[in-house]
Symmetry: C2
């Protein structure tokens, strides 16, 4: 017997028939004697419809009212799923955020989770025939007792947080893929499903472009050492387990090769090398809400000038360029070059901690294929390189083979 949180996204609950399929998955776990809480999203399309109503009402709407409107999507799903579970003979009830309560910060539209009281659910696990708890993802209540939402995609994070609050044995995230892959199988057909991966590796992979899980939910799972499973809503087979590092047995150097095309590179040539220049550049970007990812500064030349290169997401490029141009005199650079035809390729693996040759192997492999590396960043368990976008597929395929990940 285990205590399990199961999370289903919008496409998994897109209509009554699909909610019925979800209910069958829940019933199977319950029939096996498990204690189950289910976290669900709004029926697909519903959140967009509600967001659109708010926009038409007023594009500059009050986020507290927006949250009140948009949170109804999940409220409908939890009621319907509870009804269907009951019709299958499963003891079940829905819980709204205020009923638990599920407390968050006051940041409407993008709230952080503060505290979840799981005591009523746990009590019913123990006394009411393991009553299944059906909980809306993505929402909570603020310290002022208003409805909040965690921001789009917050349902994964809700599920992990609820698993922590319930002291669950694991949190199963049901998706439209059957697990986490070594890289995107659409780009590399020889990509393979990973059976087990550590939280830390998964966190890097999610941040570096693997879209299967939200970075935020993995970070939360890592902090609380909560085991996750990513598995298919539609097929009945095990997925990928994301577990504390000491439980990952395999010792391959590289676990996965995430990549991202949504990158843009900006280079400021001839920046005077004097104290405060970097602060000037990056606090301007930070104040504008533009996240900077990679940063490289070249050697200072004989004119006491340097070249500063950084990357932002491609959707932020135009804003970042305008901002830099408006600060040109202040920063004192000679020339600005922007390029969104770049991509970031990363290798991720806890094995890198103990094997120092991994980065060199990556650079050599790319070099042998004639791929020029524009920027490099590293952490303890990952190396990322920026390359011209046209070389992306070649780079990923070559690394995937070289690090022994091909099926």
């Amino acid at each position: 017997m285990a205590r399990i949180v199961m999370k289903f996204g919008g496409t998994s609950v897109g209509d009554i028939d699909r909610i019925r399929s979800v209910a069958r998955r829940v019933k199977a776990e319950w029939d096996d004697g498990n204690e189950v809480a289910v976290v669900v999203s709004a029926m697909s399309g519903e959140t967009n419809r509600l967001v659109e109503l708010c926009k038409v009402a007023n594009p500059m709407h009050d986020l507290r009212e927006y949250d009140t409107v948009v949170s109804t999507g999940e409220q409908v799903t939890v009621g319907l799923l509870a009804i269907i579970l009951q019709s299958m003979g499963v003891e079940a009830r829905s819980w709204l955020a205020w009923q638990l309560p599920f407390k968050t910060s006051n940041s409407h539209g993008n709230a952080n989770i503060d505290n979840i009281d799981g005591s009523q659910i746990i009590a019913r696990f123990e006394t009411q025939d393991r009553q299944v708890a059906v909980i809306p993802g993505f929402q909570g209540i603020s310290p002022l007792d208003r409805v909040t939402t965690l921001g789009r995609g917050g349902s994964d994070t809700s599920a992990v947080a609820i698993a922590v609050a319930l002291k669950a044995d694991r949190c199963d995230i049901y998706t439209d893929v059957d697990g986490v892959y070594t890289t995107d199988p659409r780009l590399v057909p020889r990509a393979q499903k990973i059976d087990r991966v550590s939280h830390e590796e998964m966190l890097e992979m999610a941040s570096l472009g693997a879209k299967v899980l939200q970075t935020r939910s993995v970070a939360l799972a890592m902090r609380y050492q909560m085991p996750l499973q990513v598995l298919s809503s539609f097929e009945n087979k095990p997925g990928t387990f994301i577990v504390p590092e000491e439980k990952v047995m395999e010792t391959a150097d590289v676990t996965g090769i995430p990549f991202s095309k949504a990158e843009a590179r900006i280079t400021l040539n001839g920046v005077p090398d004097r104290p405060g220049t970097s602060a000037l550049i990056f606090s301007a970007l930070g104040d504008a809400g533009i996240n900077v990812d990679m940063i490289v500064q070249s050697q200072t030349n004989e004119n006491q000038a340097t070249d500063m290169t950084f990357t932002v997401t491609d959707t932020d490029m135009d804003r970042a360029v305008s901002l830099m141009e408006s600060r040109r005199v202040e920063i004192g650079y000679q020339e600005l070059v922007a390029d969104d035809k770049v991509a970031k390729v990363s290798i991720v693996g806890v094995g890198m901690r103990t094997n120092s040759g991994v980065a060199q192997k990556m650079f050599r492999t790319l070099s042998e294929k004639g791929i020029n590396i524009k920027v490099i960043t590293t952490s303890e368990i990952k190396v990322s390189v920026l390359v011209a976008e046209e070389y992306l597929e070649l780079a990923v395929r070559a690394l995937h083979s070289e690090f022994g990940l091909d099926v």
Copy 2:
């Protein structure tokens, strides 16, 4: 300056443009310096859509989950209306039932109102620039902190109860008609709008077929002496005021002539006149949830038998007949006659209390038109008669003229 509760139904908030019209009505009251709470229904069609989802999920659904799903309709409207009011420069916020709280009984799907805490709203009237409170009609929370609904059309009742809780000066019910009429203008073109009517008369008229207000909401307003106004959502002019009796100045004998075609008459001929027979008949009907309206028992004849006639709504007729037939031996009647081609015509007016000739005038008028009266019931301020449905229009028009109500 007055404190006003304004209530708008589903067609008045059917889309964003209509919600904008509602907001303009609210703003006009607020701009006049009034303190305003608004009670709104779900956007038209929305409640039906949600009810249908529950039915498809399981026709025998748990009413607690049904209430959770169906209550989202109003939640969407309150958020949108608050957003639009704010966009017009009106200080406003939405309140959900649990936030007030708005407490009801545990009868899910058809709950009774227990207690509404209006203190937070009143505090904001006084401190936050008369912040307009936007409240979902039709819903509350149970003693067990589950979402409840008051049953269909419960929004009028919500509005009156909120007016009482806020100690409002009046409750304005916006509808698709511009007030209460002496009788249905579709049947009698010379019907006229009533300016003022007492709670008690309105209660009789609502119970007797005038559909403009829910009986339940009028009864609540009468108990707390809360003035109501029924007025048009679409035209900007005064409607009908429903006020405590001492504030009605006019002294006409008859205020209105409500009628109902949804009647059926059942007669049991040759019922043995012995103790307990009536109890047998009417407790059987009551147990089956069939409401009996008029009852007449004929004189006992030489065989110690009597004829028992009663009316039920036409939709209950078939069930009532089956029930009586199944109890035939027990009750001991000779013959059952059922007829749904009957209609009930009533005259209502507080003037009847002091003028004893009113009922006779009614009977004489009908007699002069050759209309046969099948059943009569009376109360202190109303007389109702059952007639053949084909005579309905003639009866109502004749009475409307005779009692001086024609325009």
